[in-house]
């Protein structure tokens, strides 16, 4: 992809960036634009570490533009507002998630599904309409159009709210859209990581029955006692999986490495739905019989629109739902990435930007 150049803008920014596909992050001075009329400037307080950050840092999707400043689970405080801004005031605590712009005119945008707009602009590694590359939340501040930011209610602790902006909405949206949210529904959640554990909390708050499907037997205690799951299946235990066949109305699969979906389809009741969220590098094997015998379906889902993200945040505040996090310093981020690659985190790293980033400035 053509590098669009380090265009000098008027406001200095400081964060951590990777310079190449080794993905190694280090201090990086850059610049951001002036606050536009409909934009807000946000002092970043916390930023969640999403597995997508890792994929992108290492150029696994072959579209990374370096230097790359990741971070799309941003919680911060409004420090400046453009003159036409009506949603926010200085001092408001707000969140910025995975997208910071879209075409605003297509059917998806008009239906508050900006996440499906073909011209949606990513918070980091995306290209702003003026041609500059976006730098994400592993930085001291960010500038964003007010339409793409959400208010964080004061009852939500900020650090543990950050992961809701990607992980949270990624689970909330498909549960609502595919009719899995509510009493009488049995949801399977595959993978108990950043997305999975929040999904369990949302599903229980909806009143659904939840079974976690995981390859890590050691996570069952957390799943059942900490997150409130009703059941836990070890995916490599054939007997357990067999016994649970035909029991679930829907399954949300958060696993982003290639894996077999045939056993998951088997867990579905007739008319059941398997929702895939993880962006795997290889296609899945689809056994047509498995869908046909039982009228089952497989769908994808990607985050959610801004309106729905606000709805999700409000729901989380109302039900006391937060992510289970390990707060880290900016300096720790490379170690955190190594641990994330091994699944060694319970269950989301969140960088304490405001308190630890400044000290790393050379």
């Amino acid at each position: 992809m053509e590098r669009l150049g380090e265009k000098y803008q008027s406001v200095e920014g400081f964060g951590w960036a990777a310079r190449d596909s080794s993905g190694h992050l280090s201090p990086f001075v850059f610049s951001r634009r002036e606050t536009g009329e409909e934009e807000v400037r946000v002092k970043v307080l916390y930023c969640g570490v999403c597995h997508s950050d890792l994929h992108c840092l290492k150029n696994e999707w072959h579209s990374s533009i370096y230097p790359l400043v990741p971070g799309h689970e941003i919680v911060g405080e409004v420090s400046e507002i453009g003159r036409k801004v009506s949603k926010f005031n200085i001092g408001d605590k707000i969140g910025v998630g995975c997208i910071v712009d879209s075409c605003r005119t297509c059917e998806s945008c008009r239906e508050d599904q900006e996440n499906y707009c073909t011209k949606a602009v990513a918070t980091y590694n995306g290209v702003h309409y003026d041609g500059t590359v976006n730098y994400g939340g592993y930085s001291d501040h960010i500038v964003v159009d007010e339409r793409y930011a959400v208010k964080i209610p004061h009852t939500l602790p900020l650090a543990s709210a950050a992961p809701l902006l990607c992980a949270g909405i990624s689970m909330y949206s498909p549960m609502k859209y595919f009719g899995l949210a509510g009493p009488g529904k049995h949801i399977g959640i595959v993978g108990l990581g950043g997305l999975g554990h929040i999904g369990v909390r949302f599903a229980k708050a909806f009143g659904s029955k939840v079974t976690v499907v995981s390859s890590t037997a050691g996570k069952s205690k957390d799943a059942l006692e900490n997150f409130g799951a009703d059941g836990f299946l070890v995916s490599t235990d054939e007997d357990q999986m067999q016994a649970a066949m035909g029991t679930m109305d829907g399954i949300i699969d958060t696993v982003s490495v290639s894996h077999s979906i045939l056993p998951l389809v088997g867990l579905l009741k007739p008319n059941g739905k398997l929702i895939l969220l993880g962006a795997t590098d290889k296609p899945f094997d689809l056994h047509a019989f498995s869908l046909i015998l039982g009228r089952k379906s497989i769908a994808g889902s990607a985050i959610g629109g801004i309106k729905e993200t606000q709805e999700m945040i409000n729901f989380a505040a109302e039900h006391g739902i937060k992510a289970e996090i390990e707060t880290i310093s900016m300096e720790y981020v490379n170690t955190a990435m190594d641990r994330l690659a091994k699944g060694d985190v319970r269950y989301r790293f969140v960088i304490d930007i405001a308190n630890t980033l400044p000290a790393t400035r050379p």
Partner: protein, 361 residues
């Protein structure tokens, strides 16, 4: 002494069967049960030739129990009805489709979805309620529980109506279930064979815009001028396929061989649905990005329940929808199967059973 197909039931029966995975069909003597209290005996007039018949006689799916008498698109006359039978009388024109048994007490059966009953049994190559193997419609007659018999509506021809009993319901059911019935919406039909051509007709009857996606450019004229499709896309024409990206609300994918889903998924709009109906022996590749980036769905569907099958027949009778058929004699079946394997049929073979199936003297 072990029972043979000829001796396991009290009544002599005759049909054509495949004995092994060459799939070669030839005359076969077997037997059928007495007409029980809940049963209807059907003298078979016509039987459609479904691609599943071909898959089964060749053991493509690995669960064929030879000898196999295929045939699950059966139209005939009721010659006997048991004393508990209320829906049919002797002389009625009736149909028998893909299934002839289910548990009749589970949640699926209670919802008229016998096709999703875990104990559902097929018209052929299955174990029926009495524990014996089922034999299908490439035969003189069949005995079926009344629940699995359909009344053939007046005005629906027996020969060109027969394929509706599998092909028809197989496309009608998912079109209803997945909401593909909103007039003005755009339906893609992938594959213009037995299922595909009926899907075009039913789609037009629902008021949809219909585009056929096919690998055979020669089918375009018929698709548009005879079947009523609004447009035709040759799947290997990458320019036209590109121009059609994100234009369809739904796709009915009838292609029975392994094929690429990626280009079809690209044709769908955001939130679009593709229903896969073909049963290839190997898995299909399911690419993840098109699903995730557009919240698209791939679903399956398996024929339909008995109530819905009757509804479909009545709908087709009302809208004059029949299959485009090539009528054949029983002894032409092996040639027909060879042609079917090459998709050389416009668009369904139907066996004129009553006039061409003759038991040996």
């Amino acid at each position: 002494m072990a029972k043979t197909p000829e001796t396991e039931h009290p009544n002599k029966a005759f049909g054509w069967a495949a004995r092994d995975k060459t799939g070669l069909l030839s005359p076969f003597h077997f037997s059928r049960r007495d007409n029980g209290e809940n049963d209807v005996t059907v003298k078979i007039l016509y039987c459609g030739v479904c691609h599943s018949d071909l898959h089964t006689i060749k053991n493509d799916w690995g669960f064929s129990y030879y000898p196999v008498v295929p045939g699950h698109e059966i139209v005939g006359i009721a010659t006997k009805v048991g004393k508990n039978v209320t829906k049919f009388r002797e002389g009625d024109r009736v149909g028998v489709g893909v299934i002839t048994g289910s548990c009749q007490s589970c949640e699926s059966c209670d919802q008229d979805l016998e096709n999703y009953c875990p104990q559902m049994s097929f018209t052929y190559n299955s174990i029926g309620a009495d524990g014996t193997k089922t034999y299908g419609g490439y035969s003189e007659s069949i005995v079926v529980d009344q629940r699995f018999v359909l009344l053939f509506p007046e005005g629906l021809p027996s020969d060109s109506g027969a394929p509706l009993l599998c092909a028809g319901i197989t496309v009608y059911s998912p079109m209803k279930y997945y909401g593909m019935t909103e007039p003005g919406k755009h339906l893609g039909v992938a594959g213009l064979g037995g299922l595909g051509h009926v899907a075009v007709k039913i789609g037009k009857a629902f008021g949809l815009k219909v585009t056929v996606i096919s690998s055979s450019p020669s089918k375009e004229d018929e698709a548009i001028n005879r079947l009523g499709a609004d447009s035709f896309l040759v799947s290997s024409d990458s320019q036209k396929m590109k121009a059609a990206v994100a234009t369809m609300d739904y796709i009915i994918d009838t292609v029975s061989a392994v094929h690429a889903l990626f280009p079809l998924l690209g044709l769908l709009k955001v939130n679009g649905k593709l229903v896969t109906l073909g049963l290839p022996e190997k898995p299909l590749e399911l690419p993840i990005f098109p699903l995730v980036l557009g919240r698209k769905m791939v679903g399956g569907s398996d024929i339909g329940g008995m109530k819905e099958t009757q509804e479909m027949l009545d709908f087709c009778a009302k809208h004059n929808i029949t299959a485009d058929i090539e009528l054949i004699k029983m002894d032409e079946i092996n040639t027909a199967m060879e042609r079917l394997a090459k998709s050389d049929v416009r668009y369904r073979f139907v066996i004129d059973v009553a006039n061409s199936l003759s038991p040996p003297p």
